[in-house]
């Protein structure tokens, strides 16, 4: 995951479905889904390093990404404008 990525507010992004074992913080239900960056949260240590006692790994940009609920769930019951917002680290995102 050496690549540098950065996204801006309002940019369309897709959550990667990385085949990564062990501790990750990108839940299954958003993987492969397309949403919009709604907030830049800044740089944080990578939980995938911290979880294994590696405290000196590079920091990662953390983004709030908003999805339309109807894009996440088939037959979603509710308003078409209902959204879900989730915090995702940069290496789990690609431009879409």
């Amino acid at each position: 995951m050496g690549r540098e990525v950065s996204f801006s507010d309002g940019e369309t992004v897709r959550v990667l479905d990385l085949d990564k074992s062990g501790h990750v913080r990108a839940p299954r239900y958003v993987r492969g889904k397309t949403g919009t960056v709604s907030h830049l949260l800044g740089k944080f240590k990578n939980p995938e390093d911290l979880a294994y006692g590696k405290y000196d790994g590079p920091e990662k940009e953390l983004y709030r990404v908003a999805f339309r609920q109807s894009d996440l769930w088939q037959g979603y019951e509710g308003n078409l404008d209902d959204t879900l917002v989730i915090d995702i680290y940069e290496h789990w995102l690609e431009g879409a």
């Binding site: 074992s21 062990g22 299954r28």
Partner: protein, 101 residues
């Protein structure tokens, strides 16, 4: 890959939400305190705790603080701070003491 903790939208848990609340027990307070005190001292991180929790084989059978207790034990053993044997031994000793009351 995802584990038993990755519950968003999980079909197995589509039933009604139990809204009853149990009184927090002292051992749960203690578990919470030991876990966060170890984090506070930099002995382990929240992320290690989460990793240990989600790798518990019996994740779904355990209660919330039972998972915390098991994860904290796992990390203390992993880091060589305590051994499983000494915890076994001490736990047996405490059980005997309590039984005698």
């Amino acid at each position: 890959m995802s584990g038993p903790h990755d519950l968003g939208g999980a079909k197995d848990f589509s039933g009604p939400i139990d809204k009853s609340q149990h009184e927090v027990e002292d051992w749960e307070r203690l578990t919470d305190a030991i876990t966060t005190a170890l984090d506070g001292k930099g002995i382990k991180t929240t992320d290690e705790h989460r990793r240990a929790v989600e790798s518990l084989e019996n994740y779904a059978e355990l209660g919330y603080y039972e998972r915390w207790a098991a994860a904290t034990e796992k990390l203390l053993v992993e880091k060589g701070i305590l051994t499983k044997e000494e915890i076994d031994e001490r736990a047996a000793e405490i059980k005997r003491e309590w039984g005698e009351k």
